[in-house]
């Protein structure tokens, strides 16, 4: 009796989540256009990256712009291992995770001591240093040209090369759900509460005995590792990587805006943000690419950022949350 009651409670509680996953999983059955499927894959990847950014950027409100550095570590290590040793990305992802963790510690140790805006400034510098390194090591990373994945026909899960979009659709969907799950577990964990305490008042948190610096560093490392995995998958999906598109300020802004627009510090905010941001950019690139001198798509990004900060500082998800709270009270 008790058990079944619990079960129905769970079903009731998680019904929207299950419905959402099921709806996403059924998309390829109804939408056969590979372009639309590609947009969905991009949405899932950006939702994953937004959620990863959200762990430090949202829970603890430490605005990091170093995410492209970790994305690149994952992407480059997977592509380089594939190119030079023919190693499966499933194995080189582990290498990417380790390297991203090390890089996060290297970047985080000095920068996380800084408060607020100074941390942000420092992470911007870190991204541009990584970018210059990638540009100036043409023998290893291909310099400005970057790396291209040698494609082969046929489906090969072990080497992550597919003829259609559908396998990557499910890989990206599963990965997004995994990152969301990790973020959800984190937010309920001790570390999650520590991070939220840091968000409210870092000095107060420290005075209560929370080792704020260590906690921020832990969150930074976790977020970096998740970003690295996403980078590896993403680069295999699009088949190439170059510093201009990956180690750029643009990517840092896109990842952060995904989380900010949806709702910083919430579990589903980044997912909602990705479902808004990615199609928004695709549509504006499609319809507005010839408008004026170009750049309309990213101008809209900037405008969205400004408007969200001014009008909805808690993100678009707060629209739904308010309704829910009102319903419960009323």
């Amino acid at each position: 009796m008790n058990k079944s009651l619990n079960l129905s409670g769970y079903v009731k509680r998680y019904f929207p989540v299950i419905a959402f996953i099921a709806a996403c999983a059924l998309v390829p059955l109804f939408i056969k256009k590979s372009y639309i499927q590609r947009v969905f894959i991009e949405v899932f990847f950006f939702a994953a990256m937004g959620s990863a950014w959200n762990i430090l950027g949202g829970f603890a409100k430490q605005t990091s712009w170093a995410s492209p550095a970790f994305f690149c570590i994952g992407a480059y290590s997977a592509l380089l291992m594939d190119k030079n040793f023919g190693l499966s990305p499933w194995i080189s992802i582990i290498l990417g995770i380790i390297l991203a963790g090390v890089l996060a510690i290297v970047i985080g140790l000095p920068t996380l001591k800084l408060r607020g805006v100074f941390f942000s400034i420092a992470t911007i510098s870190c991204t541009s240093i990584v970018r210059q390194i990638l540009f100036n090591t043409p023998n290893l990373t291909g310099g400005a040209q970057g790396l291209t994945l040698k494609m082969s026909s046929g489906n090969d899960l072990w080497r992550l090369r597919f003829d259609s979009e559908i396998p990557f659709f499910y890989i990206s969907l599963i990965w997004m759900m995994l990152v969301v799950l990790i973020a959800a577990m984190l937010s309920k964990s001790r570390l999650g509460w520590y991070l939220k305490a840091i968000r409210e008042d870092e000095d107060a948190a420290q005075s209560l005995g929370i080792r704020t610096y260590h906690m921020k560093l832990r969150a930074f490392v976790i977020s970096a590792m998740l970003l690295a995995v996403t980078g590896a998958f993403y680069s295999f999906k699009i088949g190439y990587i170059d510093p201009n598109s990956s180690a750029s300020h643009d990517l840092a802004v896109r990842i952060a805006v995904t989380a900010i627009l949806g709702g910083m510090g919430t579990i589903w905010g980044p997912v909602l943000g990705a479902f808004i941001c990615v199609p928004m950019l695709e549509i504006s690139n499609y319809y507005l690419s010839d408008f004026g001198g170009g750049g309309a798509g990213f101008a809209i990004y900037g405008l969205a950022m400004v408007l969200v900060v001014l009008l909805r500082p808690n993100g678009i998800i707060s629209l739904f949350q308010k309704k829910k709270a009102g319903g419960a009270n009323g």
């Binding site: 409100k61 605005t63 000095p110 510098s125 390194i133 900010i260 001198g293 990213f298 900037g302």
Partner: protein, 292 residues
Amino acid sequence: MIEQVIINGLMIGGVYSLIAVGLTMIHGVMKIINFAQGDFLMVGMYATVMLYSFLQPGTAPYILILPVAVLMFMFGMVIFKTTITRVIGKGDSNYILLTLGLSYLLQNGAQLIFGPSYISLPVSNELKFATIQLGENYISIPRLIAFAAALTLVVIMNFFLTKTDMGRAMRSTAENNTIATGLGVNVKKVYIIAFGLGTVFAGISGLLLTPIFFIYPLAGAPFSSIAMTVCVLGALGNIKGAMVGGLLIGLVESFVSGYVNLEMAKVAIDLTLLMVLMFKPYGLFGGGARKA
């Protein structure tokens, strides 16, 4: 070689000082670091280009300083009234996101209007390539003018802040805006003027750089990080520190680009910033207002 490198470094460093003074004024008064400062410089460049089209081709652009300053002040007021005023005192992440969004909007908005191409101001070649000889070294006249104008403005600004009532009001607001309000300072007015002046300095720097650099939507982006580096180096909120810091960063850049290469010069500036944040977070000269 070494004298030439030093001269080049000091010349561009003067302009860095001017940009940084704008940034440090905004930070000093309203405790906001403007990530779009470099893009205000880019707006100043395009404003110069637009106003220049009314002039006879070949005239020196420096006669446009006053009109560009007025335009930039108005631009700054619009930005302040519509956006910045709502995030003052609301915590770091709000203004970081807001000003980065503005920076993104301005860059891509400029591309939307003017296109992504590199343009240069059609100034006469006599001005563009004019030099004066100093022993074995050459000083480019446009760079010398930019240096002199920038430093003059910084000195005037310092005088304004220390010797006039408005300047004193600004410094008291920077110190403690609650008490300043209590003492009858119109803090709102101080905010607007400080932000306007910050924008004007960025715009004038843009104007001074038009005969030297190409003009394109991302032209201002490197200056944002340079300006932040200079400000942190010279202790935030400190005008004299910003001046010395600007010259120092100019020297760092010109030494690395002279002896290593141009790409490494950018890395050197980023590294300098990280080093200063790590080891000298209160600036090289101490003092200054900063919480960290």
